[in-house]
Amino acid sequence: MGEHTVASFDEELGQISKLIRDMGDLAGSMVSGSTKALLTSDNALAQRVVSDDAIMDARQRELDDRAITLIAKRQPMANDLRAVVGSIRMAGDLERIGDLAKNIAKRVGTVGLSVTPRDLSHSIDAMAQLVLIQVQGVVEEYAAADAAALAQLRNDDERIDVKYTSVFRELLTYMMEDPRNITACTHLLFCAKNLERIGDHVTNIAENAYYVLTGQQLPANRPKQDETAMATPA
C-alpha cells in the first residue's frame, strides 16, 4: 500500500498498528506467564501477570483515544477505515484476554495451597500450549497481513475446544476419585474455562483481522467441539 499524501496520517495509523502489536505481545506474555505460574505454583510470576493487566488496560485506552482522534481528524476510508475500526475491536478482545490471564494468575495462590496440583494439571499444560500458539499466531499473521493463515487459525480453535472437553472430563474423574481434590480441581476447571475463552477471543481477533485485510467477512459458522455441555448430566 502506497503512502498517504499527508505523511502524518501514515504516522498515526502506524502508531495504532504498533499498539495492537504491543498489546498482542503483552497478551501472549500474560497467557504464558499465568499458565507457567499455575503449573509451577510461582506466586511472584502470578503477581507480575496481575500487574501487567494494568498496562494492558492503559494501552487499550491509549489506542481508543488515538483511533477516535484519527477518525475525527482524517475521516479514513476503505482499508484505512477498516484498519482503525478493526483495531478498536481487536484491542477489546486483547484486553479481555489480559483479564482472563489475570484471573488465572489470581488462582495460583489458592491452587498452590491444595494437594499436589502439579499431578492434576498435565492436560491443562497441553491446552495452555495450544492457546499460547494461537495468541502469538494471530498477532503475527495480522502483522504479516496473511489472510489465509488467519482463516486457518480461526478454525484451529476447534483443537482447543477438544482439549477443553478432555480436561473437563479428566478433572471430573479426579474429583470423583478423591473429594480432597475438589477445591484444587474446581480452580483448575475455571482456569481451563478461562483458557478456552481466550481461544474464543483469538478467533474474534482473527475474524476482525481477516476483515481488515480483505474487506470480506468470514462465514459465520466455524467448527465447534466443546462437548462439555453434553458431558454433564442434565
Binding site: 502506497g2 503512502e3 482524517r74 475521516q75 476510508m77 476503505a78 482499508n79 484505512d80 477505515l81 470480506q216
Partner: protein
C-alpha cells in the same frame, strides 16, 4: 424459532434482490468519448444512471467527471471544439439524435452549478423564468403556484416567501444555491445534474443542500459531481470513480467506500494519490 429467523432473513435478502432487479435505468452512457479539439478527455465510458437514485461521480481534478456530467444534457455543445462520440440515452432515446430539441432536453435534464448563479432579477423571476420560456404557465396564478411549489421543494420557501420581489443575488450563498435548485426544479426536470453544488457553501448550508438532495431523490434522478468523498458517501446510492478520462469503477456507494475493487479507487478515497 431458529427456522423462523432464517426464513425471515431469507425473505429480507430476497426482497432486496427483487428491488435490485426492478431498478430502472434512466440514462445510459455507451462508450462515451469526448474530444476537445485533438485532445481526448474521455474514453469509452459505459455508465448507467438509475431512476430515483443519486449517482456520485468522483475522481481527481481533470479525470473527466465534469466532462461526462456535461455530456448528459449536451452542455458540451456550447464549446465549439468539443466533440462527443458514443451514445447517451435518456429513457432509451438517443439525446444526440439530430431530431432532439436541445432546449427541451435541458428542461428534462436540469443543471445546478458549482457557484450559485442566480439571475440579477427578483427571487420570483429567477424561478419563473424557465417555466415562462417553456410556456408552462398560462395564468399568473399558475405561475405563482409553480414558483411556490419549486421554492418549497428546494426547502427555501420559508426563508424567502415574504421577500419574493427582492433580488436573488441578495441572498446568502447557501440560499442562492437552493434558489438555483428551485430554478432547476421549476421546469419539472426528470434528471438533475449537480456540478460540485456545495463547494462554495459553508458546512451548515452544505448540510441543508445534502438533506435536500435526499428529499429530491424521491421524485428526480440525480447525478452529482463532488470533490468531497464524505459527501459522495453521504448522499449517493451509486458511485462512479473516474481517472485520466476513464471510468475506473462503478458500484454501490456503501461498497465503494469500505471495500473498493480497484486499487486506483482505493488510493484516491484513502488519500494516497501520487
Amino acid at each position: 424459532m431458529n427456522i423462523m429467523t432464517e426464513q425471515s432473513l431469507e425473505n429480507a435478502v430476497g426482497d432486496k434482490m427483487n428491488a435490485k432487479s426492478n431498478e430502472v435505468i434512466k440514462m445510459r452512457g455507451d462508450k462515451v468519448g469526448v474530444f476537445y479539439g485533438e485532445k481526448q478527455a474521455l474514453f469509452d465510458v459505459n455508465l448507467d444512471v438509475r431512476l430515483n437514485q443519486v449517482t456520485a461521480l468522483i475522481g481527481p481534478s481533470g479525470c473527466g467527471k465534469s466532462t461526462f456530467l456535461r455530456c448528459l444534457n449536451r452542455m458540451n455543445d456550447t464549446i465549439d471544439s468539443a466533440r462527443v462520440t458514443g451514445k447517451i440515452t435518456l429513457d432509451e432515446d438517443d439525446i444526440y439524435d439530430k431530431n432532439i430539441d436541445v432546449v427541451e432536453l435541458r428542461a428534462r435534464v436540469g443543471m445546478v452549478f458549482q457557484k450559485p448563479n442566480p439571475f440579477p432579477k427578483s427571487i420570483y423571476e429567477n424561478v419563473a423564468y424557465g417555466p415562462r420560456i417553456h410556456g408552462l404557465a398560462k395564468r399568473k396564478s399558475d405561475m405563482d403556484q409553480i414558483v411556490e411549489s419549486s421554492l418549497k421543494k428546494a426547502a427555501i420557501w420559508n426563508e424567502v416567501k415574504d421577500r419574493l420581489q427582492e433580488p436573488g443575488t441578495g441572498l446568502s450563498g447557501g440560499q442562492q444555491q437552493r434558489l438555483c435548485i428551485a430554478r432547476a426544479i421549476a421546469v419539472s426536470p426528470e434528471v438533475i445534474l449537480m456540478d460540485e453544488p456545495c463547494s462554495a457553501l459553508d458546512p451548515i448550508a452544505t448540510a441543508r443542500v445534502e438533506e435536500l438532495i435526499d428529499e429530491l431523490r424521491q421524485n428526480y434522478t440525480i447525478v452529482i459531481v463532488t470533490h468531497s468523498m464524505q459527501q459522495a458517501a453521504r448522499v449517493s446510492q451509486r458511485t462512479a470513480m473516474f481517472h485520466l478520462g476513464y471510468l475506473v469503477e462503478e458500484g454501490a456507494t456503501d461498497k465503494m467506500f469500505t471495500n473498493p475493487d480497484d486499487k486506483r479507487t482505493q488510493d484516491y478515497i484513502t488519500g494516497r494519490f501520487g
